[in-house]
């Protein structure tokens, strides 16, 4: 294609003239084939506009659209105009490693050109390359800011999830954002990365030049400006990375956690489908009047005294409503009958064991609790001395409980 020079003012005028079409291309970054693009021109041009082929050539000549090098060429928005619209719409395309490599090359070129200008001891060339370097660094800084805005926009969309993406799709999207937006920023601020090394080299070149042209006021000002820009760029990238991470990290962690939850649910279903549900662990739930052998029998007294108003055991419920449960020999009714029948001055625990073989420690302790709660029916005494019991294969030590006669009440 022959080279055409157009004044910037004319380019902007043409950009404005075909804004609707170019804005469509901005929203469709993969570009249009020639046929589709010509159709789009037809659809957007006014009735008094020139021929479609004229407009097509004009857009190409002005550099407003460029042809890709794909097997089947596609037409995309020219890079400066895309950047302008991104800026105007505060949108951003992710910066991939190829773009970062482009910046590294650009910075290396700037450093190389400055070195040559130093060797030629040329003030105008040094000034020109310093100005070029400023623009490059400002451009990279802008990219960093755009990346942050890009993350915030994308995270907002993911949170709202208007597209009704599944969890896995949302997680994949969050991971893509991480890779495409945050990793480049990380690369920019990493001192040991290739970008960091390029920046370090640039610092050396600027220091050398500043020493060489110290007497020139204008150059000294430009060197200072570039040195500040270099520091600001790194600081800007660090802040952008930090803020973008703050936005993305919680969502990513949440999606990751909930994706795990979905995976866990599927696993539960797998166990169920394979008839292996019983192999899964369970939670201990439901009624637990099951005192363990570590219980201190003395501890029961204040507790039960406080609970004196409870005339019956606390209501409990069975989760296995269909299941037939073997009745406990010392259930409340049976126990109260046993207490009524037992002789006075008899030790409760010894008597229970005498009546029923193989009572568990839990059953015995539970029976003691109930007996103590029902003192209005059968008075129970507590011995001051420590007693020892052999219950269910374990040695127990604690207070002794015994049935007292009416004559001994109050003791």
């Amino acid at each position: 294609m022959p080279y055409h020079y157009y004044r910037p003012k004319d380019k902007i005028a043409r950009f404005s003239e075909y804004f609707d079409l170019l804005e469509t291309l901005f929203r469709f970054p993969q570009g249009y084939t020639e046929d589709v693009l010509r159709y789009q021109i037809d659809q957007t041009k006014g009735s008094s506009a020139p021929e479609t082929s004229y407009i097509f050539d004009s857009l190409l000549n002005y550099g407003l659209i460029v042809e890709s090098t794909d097997f089947q060429p596609r037409y995309v928005l020219g890079v400066p105009y895309r950047a302008l619209l991104e800026q105007l719409y505060q949108e951003s395309q992710p910066v991939n490693s190829a773009v970062i490599q482009g910046y590294i090359t650009a910075l290396a070129n700037c450093a190389g050109n400055l070195q040559k200008a130093y060797e030629a001891q040329s003030t105008p060339l040094t000034l020109k390359h310093l100005q070029h370097l400023s623009r490059e660094m400002e451009s990279i800084s802008q990219t960093s800011r755009n990346n942050r805005l890009g993350v915030i926009n994308e995270v907002r969309k993911l949170r709202l999830n208007d597209e009704k993406l599944s969890y896995r799709e949302r997680l994949a999207e969050a991971n893509r954002l991480w890779d495409e937006y945050l990793e480049p920023l990380r690369e920019i601020i990493a001192p040991t990365g290739t970008f960091g090394q390029a920046m370090q080299h640039l610092k050396q070149v600027l220091d050398n030049g500043e020493a060489l042209f110290n007497a020139n006021v204008e150059l000294r000002h430009q060197f200072t400006h570039n040195r500040v820009l270099r520091v600001q760029l790194q600081e800007q990238a660090r802040i952008d990375l930090s803020e973008a991470s703050l936005e993305l990290d919680p969502l990513r962690e949440k999606l990751l956690e909930e994706s795990r939850l979905l995976e866990a649910s599927s696993l539960v279903f797998d166990y169920l489908e394979q008839g292996k549900l019983t192999e899964l662990p369970t939670l201990s739930l439901g009624r637990k009047l099951t005192h363990e052998r570590q219980i201190d029998l003395y501890g029961l007294i204040p507790w039960l005294a406080e609970l004196w108003s409870i005339q019956n055991e606390p209501d409990s419920f069975s989760f296995e409503e269909q299941e037939e449960v073997e009745p406990d020999p010392l259930e409340t009714e049976a126990l109260l009958q046993l207490l009524a029948d037992m002789p006075a001055d008899t030790d409760l625990i010894e008597y229970f064991q005498k009546c029923y073989n193989n009572l568990s420690a839990n059953a015995v302790l539970r029976a003691i609790s109930i007996a103590t709660l029902h003192q209005t029916d059968v008075p129970i005494g507590v011995s001051a001395d420590e007693s020892q019991y052999w219950i269910d294969g374990q040695l127990w030590k604690g207070s002794g409980f015994y049935k007292i006669t009416d004559n001994n009440k109050g003791q």
Binding site: E258, E263, A264, L267, R287, K288, E292, S316, E320, E321
Partner: protein, 188 residues
Amino acid sequence: MESNNPFHIPGKQEVFEALVSGKHLSLHSGELYHYLLEHKEAYQAELASLGYVLVHEQDYFYLLSRDDNRTNDYSHKVLVFIAIMLEFIAQTGNDMIDTLYRSRGFERDQLPHFSTERYKNYMQHLGIEDEKALHTLLRNLHRSGFIDYRESENFLRFLPPCQRFIQLALDVLEQHKKQQAEQGETGA
């Protein structure tokens, strides 16, 4: 006199009854939860003397009995019940946890558990074959403090103690992955 009784803890009788009956007490439980929160150490000490462990996780309380390793079908039922809820919510594209615990709850007749053949099969495996059996399960979940279920209003809401089952599911997944990794290493 309560004030002279060194063993007095406010709300003791009601809290004891609720906890021992297997209820989980959360913010939703009102004053019982606040009794526990304000006198946590006293409750823990006293319950420990009776052989219980009072557990306080996130914003709910429940009792554990030491060395109680018995399995129970009820736990499996609830685990599957909640897993179905989570999968169903995920399919709608909404946030799973936020939606599960949303304050506006769910309508009972809109629950997904009999909405697909697959879910119906799961429920049948658990012995929950009809609405009546589901109602029994919901009633038990309500009594144990996992949900707020108001049958007459066709309303139910999941409460924070359900987190126990969510954590259980995650533990199962972790254990499964660990086993797979070990088998992979052995195979290699």
